[in-house]
């Protein structure tokens, strides 16, 4: 007798059958799974091209069953621009960390937003440079100790934690900007909805879209995964508030 069972949870088709290589407690894997789920749901895998960063997720192209292009550090959005302008009917997204998009790639970030480039960027903010071993990032919180701010980030010395998403809001060409976290089931549901809206913003040609994803980095924060989740909620979310930061209606041509 067959047991009538229904599959309620499985690997998204857009993810290859390959274990993630991220540290325990890191949310890169969760973020990438959600992106894959949304690509499945929208049925856009055949026409989607990903552009990866240099940083912890440098191997992102190994996990997705998608065409992928990897460029230099901080250059993903310029590379994505080149791809999208060459193939305007494809869906193009970049996936970048805070060093990549918020420090060395800031000029690219501001100008893709300003041009209303029809790409979607995912910005994983873990408040440190992860791959190089936990140095201060533009998003490092005041007082936060890192390998290059051993006494804690000091505003007078290092400036303030950088709110890139809010900065990109003022760019006329940006159409959808949201900040999410993945530390609670309800946050995960919200994040998935935001990722979907970001892709739809591109599909509907409304302008540039970005979803910032707060992620813990237990390895470089020197914390247990659970402790890191608590630190993210208690310290990061108050400074980097969650929610939709910009939702522009109408397509690009109507609003410009």
């Amino acid at each position: 007798m067959r047991c009538p069972m229904k599959v309620v949870f499985e690997r998204p088709r857009t993810l290859l059958k390959k274990p993630f290589t991220y540290c325990p407690g890191c949310h890169h894997g969760l973020a990438q799974r959600l992106i894959a789920e949304v690509i499945d749901e929208l049925g856009i895998g055949e026409v989607t091209i990903g552009v990866g960063p240099i940083g912890c997720s440098v191997y992102i192209y190994e996990f997705f069953d998608l065409d992928f292009v990897m460029g230099g550090h901080g250059r993903a959005q310029a590379v994505a621009t080149g791809i999208k302008r060459a193939l305007p009917d494809r869906i193009v997204f970049s996936y970048q960390g805070d060093g990549d998009i918020g420090a060395i790639g800031t000029a690219e970030a501001i100008h893709v937003a300003n041009r209303g480039e029809l790409i979607t960027s995912f910005f994983v903010n873990n408040a440190v440079f992860g791959m190089t071993g936990g140095q201060m990032a533009p998003t490092t919180l005041l007082g936060q100790k890192t390998r290059t701010s051993p006494l804690g980030r000091d505003a007078r010395m290092h400036g303030f934690p950088f709110r890139l998403a809010e900065m990109l809001k003022v760019a006329e060409g940006s159409a959808y900007i949201a900040r999410v976290a993945l530390t609670q089931p309800r946050f995960v549901r919200q994040a998935r909805a935001c990722i979907k809206k970001a892709f739809l913003t591109q599909i509907e040609k409304k302008g540039f879209s970005l979803v910032e994803i707060l992620s813990p980095c237990p390895t470089n924060w020197g914390m247990e995964p659970e402790q890191a989740v608590r630190w993210l909620e208690e310290k990061m979310i108050p400074y980097f508030p969650l929610g939709e930061i910009k939702v522009k209606e109408g397509n690009f041509d109507e609003t410009s």
Partner: protein
């Protein structure tokens, strides 16, 4: 036509459909021309926020298999080096134009050849080569633009056209005769979205040491193949010269006048003008240098290509005459130097 505009039109005729750039003198007319012309042929012109962004947009577009180019001058080309290194390892074809100007630093906007090292020795980090073509007339700007796109596609390698402010700004009659290149293999590596097929990816790294060494060795084999198959140069003047003049680009034009002048005075000079700076025509240069016994290299810098000439010709004495900072070597001063060399009045290795 003006050099910059002729080059831009040649790019269109060669099938270039995308251009990303940032204004800088003395090459800005390339951008201006293409901003009007590319949309007429269904192409894309995009003025980037930085040179760095421009070359990375080229990287993205090249990854899709489309013919794409960018252009700049000295300081801008320096900013593009990171992207050129990435393009080289990812083996993406594209064309980059450097209408070089006086350096170092911001220097000035007058013609110079002081970007030779940067162009032929890599420029950015890592073991890689660009295909480097050096035109010496507006017609050659056109012809070598066609060839740059062809070679870039054939070898999956960025190609650089090394002109200068003189060629960029001068006007000469040109004809656009499309060369008959052999067919190219299909770009089955191009990223277009996986469709119903297998996914593909293009990366600019190989984190495993064995893998990266193998990749580098493969690139070197490609560069050797370029040396065997694509080396090009022009020889002008006496078949048995008493002095061989060597110069590229704009200097090549000036040296032709020197050769003619020498002939009218009963002296036998010849010019060797490398057209491909990488691959450098070292074997052919050596043969001719042996015949002459003495070589004078003239450059609009203080001694860059002369190093490659010395490496090529071995023991044969190689003299040098250079002007820099936007100064153009005059026929008289080159002729005087040549005359002194032939009368053994110039101690060898005297440089400038």
């Amino acid at each position: 036509m003006k050099g910059n505009e002729a080059l831009a039109e040649a790019a269109i005729k060669a099938g270039c459909r995308m251009y990303f750039g940032y204004p800088i003198t003395p090459q800005t007319e390339i951008s201006e021309y293409l901003s009007l012309r590319l949309p007429q042929v269904g192409g894309v012109f995009l003025q980037a926020e930085t040179e760095v962004a421009a070359i990375n947009m080229v990287y993205g577009a090249a990854a899709t298999g489309i013919r794409v180019m960018t252009s700049s001058s000295g300081p801008g080309i320096s900013l593009k080096q990171e992207g050129l290194s990435d393009l080289a390892i990812a083996e993406l074809p594209c064309v980059v134009v450097n209408m070089s100007r006086g350096g170092p630093g911001v220097g000035n906007i007058q013609p110079a050849q002081s970007d030779y090292f940067q162009a032929v020795k890599g420029g950015g980090h890592g073991d890689y080569k660009l295909i480097v073509l050096a035109p010496s007339s507006v017609q050659e700007l056109v012809d070598l633009t066609y060839r740059a796109f062809y070679l870039a596609d054939k070898y999956r390698n960025p190609a650089l056209i090394l002109g200068d402010g003189m060629l960029a700004q001068m006007m000469e009659p040109v004809s656009f005769v499309e060369p008959n290149f052999p067919p190219l293999p299909p770009k089955d590596w191009a990223i277009q979205g996986k469709g119903k097929g297998q996914r593909k990816f293009i990366v600019c790294f190989a984190l495993d040491p064995q893998e990266l060494e193998a990749l580098n060795l493969r690139l070197q084999r490609k560069y050797r193949l370029l040396e065997e198959q694509e080396t090009d140069f022009e020889v002008f003047g006496d078949e048995n010269p008493e002095l061989l003049l060597v110069g590229f680009g704009t200097v090549g034009r000036i040296l032709k006048t020197v050769v003619r002048e020498a002939k009218s005075q009963g002296m036998k000079f010849a010019l060797f003008r490398p057209i491909t700076l990488f691959p450098f025509p070292r074997r052919q240069l050596k043969e001719l240098a042996r015949k002459a016994g003495k070589v004078l290299v003239v450059e609009m810098n203080l001694g860059q290509m002369v190093e490659d000439v010395r490496l090529s010709v071995g023991e044969i004495p190689v003299y040098f005459h250079g002007r820099t900072g936007g100064m153009i070597p005059r026929v008289e001063e080159i002729f005087t130097k040549a005359y002194q060399i032939l009368r053994d009045e110039v101690p060898y290795e005297s440089g400038f």
